[in-house]
Amino acid sequence: MGVASLASTIFDLEPSVIGRGLLLLCLTLLIAGCGSKQVIVEGNFPEPLLDPLPLTLGVIYPSAFAEHEFFDEAKGRAESDWLVKTGEAQVEFWDTLFGGMFAKVVHIRDWETVERHRAEIDGVLIPAIGELQYTVPTHTNVKIYEIWMRYEFRLVDISAIHQQEDGALTFNPDERLATWPITAYGKTPTAFLQTDEEAVNLAAVVALRDAGAHFVTTFGAQPDIALWLNAIASRELPAETSSSMPETDGAPPTDTPVATESAAEMTTTTSPDEQQPANAPSANSASAGEAS
C-alpha cells in the first residue's frame, strides 16, 4: 500500500488504480511468456538484378510447399509452442526470383496449363522444403534468432508431367533432368522493442533471401543443369545465357528407381547422417514431414 501511495503522489492517481494497472500489466506479461506463438512470415522481396535466361520455365509449387508450416511443441514451462507459416512467403519470394531470372515463367496448376504451354516450356521446376530448423534465445541463451532451411529442387521435362485419374498432376522421377539441394540460413539479433515473433519473421525473410542468392549463384554450376542449358543452347542457336551462371562440364544423371510421385503431394526424405552447414542451428528441428 505504501508503494502505491508513493506512486500515487508521483503520478497523481488513486493508489488502487495504479495497483490494478500494474497487476494487469504483470499478468499480461506472465501470460504472454507461456502461450503459443504464431508467425505468418511476411516480407518485401526485391527482384533480382540479372539478365534473364532466355528460357520458359514451368513451375509447380506442391501443396506441401505452398502451404508450408512447421509446428514445434514447447519442451518445458519456460518455452512456448511455435507455429511458423512460411508457405505464402515462399511462393511470393520464389515467384519474384524466377520472374527476374527467366524470360518467362508459367505456373502449372492443372493439366490444361500443361497442354496449352507444352510446346514452349523448356523445363518444369518443382521446389520442396526438405528440412527447417530454428532457434530462439530461450533455447540457446544466445541473443540471436536463427532459421535454417534445406530445399530440394527438381527439374523435369514437361513430358514427364502426367495427369492422374482424379486430375492431379504427377511426374515420373526417373525422367527428371536435375535434382539438387539448396541450403539457406537467416539470423537476426535480439533488438529492443522487437517481439519474438517479429524476430523470427525477420530471420525467415533473411533465410529466404539467402536461399535466392544461393540458387542464383549455383544454378548454372549444377552439372545436370549445365547439360540441360547446353542442350537448349545447341537446339536454339544462337542462345544467350547470363554470365552470372557459368556453364560447367556436366556429370551424367544418376540412376534412380522408377516410381511415380504426385507433384502436388511430393515430399522429400531426410537421411539421418545428412551434413549440415557449420552455421546451422543445432536445436529444434522440424522437417517438412512434421508440418501440420
Partner: protein
C-alpha cells in the same frame, strides 16, 4: 507509516542515483585511422554507400549503426550523397547478401561483368563503398533488483550496473580504382546504471552513439572538402 519508511530509505537510494548520474554517460572512445588518396576537393556529385558486414556467425553489424554513420556524414556535409543501405542491398539483390557480398575490392570487377549490375552502378555514380564491421555488446553486469506486486502494491527496489563495448572498423574502397584506400576503427566502452526506487531509472551510457560519432567524424574528414 510505510510511506515514511520509504522516505527514510530514500537518501541512501538518492545517493546511489547521484553517483550513477555522475558516473553515467562517461564513455571512453579510441579511434585509429589509416587512409590514403584523400579526395582533397571532396567527392563532388558522386555518391557513397555505407554497408554493414553480416557474414559472421555470431554477430551482425547493426542496421541502425550504419544509418547513424550515414546520417552523421550527411549532417556534417549535406553535399555528400549517402545511399541508404537497405535500398542499395535491395537494388543489387542478390549480389550484396551475406553469402554473396564482395570481401575484396578486386572482386567488384567480377560483379561489373554482369551488364545490369554495371549499368546500375553507373547510374549511381558511386565513388566510395565503405564497409563497417563490428558490433556493440553488453559485458559484465552486477547488482540486483527485486520487483514485487500485490493488491494495490507494485514496485522495484535495487541497483544494477552493466558495461557496454562497441568495436567497429570501417574499410573504405575506392570504387573507381577498385582498391582499398583506408581503414578507420573506433572502440568505445562505458558503464550504465539502473537504480530502482519503486520505478527503475535507467542511466544509459551512449556507447554506440559515441562510436558512431567517432567513426562518422573520421569518415567525414576523409570524404568532405570542408572538414
Amino acid at each position: 507509516m510505510k510511506r515514511l519508511r520509504i522516505v527514510d530509505l530514500a537518501p541512501r537510494w538518492w545517493g546511489l542515483v547521484v553517483i550513477a548520474l555522475l558516473l553515467g554517460g562517461c564513455v571512453n572512445a579510441t579511434v585509429d585511422e589509416m587512409t590514403y588518396n584523400e579526395p582533397v576537393a571532396g567527392i563532388g556529385e558522386s555518391s557513397v554507400v555505407i554497408l554493414g558486414r553480416r557474414h559472421a556467425p555470431d554477430y551482425d553489424t547493426e542496421f541502425d549503426f550504419i544509418e547513424c554513420i550515414g546520417d552523421h556524414i550527411h549532417r556534417g556535409d549535406p553535399s555528400i550523397d549517402v545511399i541508404n543501405e537497405i535500398a542499395f542491398i535491395n537494388q543489387f539483390y542478390p549480389w550484396f547478401e551475406p553469402r554473396t557480398a564482395p570481401m575484396q575490392p578486386q572482386t567488384i570487377h567480377r560483379l561489373l561483368q554482369l551488364p545490369p549490375v554495371a549499368e546500375r552502378f553507373a547510374e549511381m555514380q558511386l565513388e566510395y563503398m565503405i564497409w563497417i564491421d563490428g558490433n556493440t555488446i553488453d559485458t559484465e553486469s552486477t547488482g540486483s533488483m527485486s520487483c514485487g506486486i500485490g493488491p494495490g502494491v507494485a514496485g522495484c527496489f535495487g541497483f544494477g550496473t552493466w558495461g557496454t563495448e562497441s568495436e567497429y572498423e570501417a574499410t573504405i574502397w575506392d570504387f573507381t580504382d577498385k582498391v582499398e584506400v583506408g581503414r578507420v576503427s573506433a572502440v568505445a566502452s562505458g558503464q550504465s546504471y539502473m537504480p530502482a526506487v519503486v520505478v527503475p531509472i535507467p542511466i544509459i551510457a551512449p556507447v554506440q552513439g559515441t562510436a558512431c560519432d567517432s567513426l562518422g567524424d573520421q569518415l567525414l574528414e576523409y570524404l568532405s572538402a570542408h572538414h
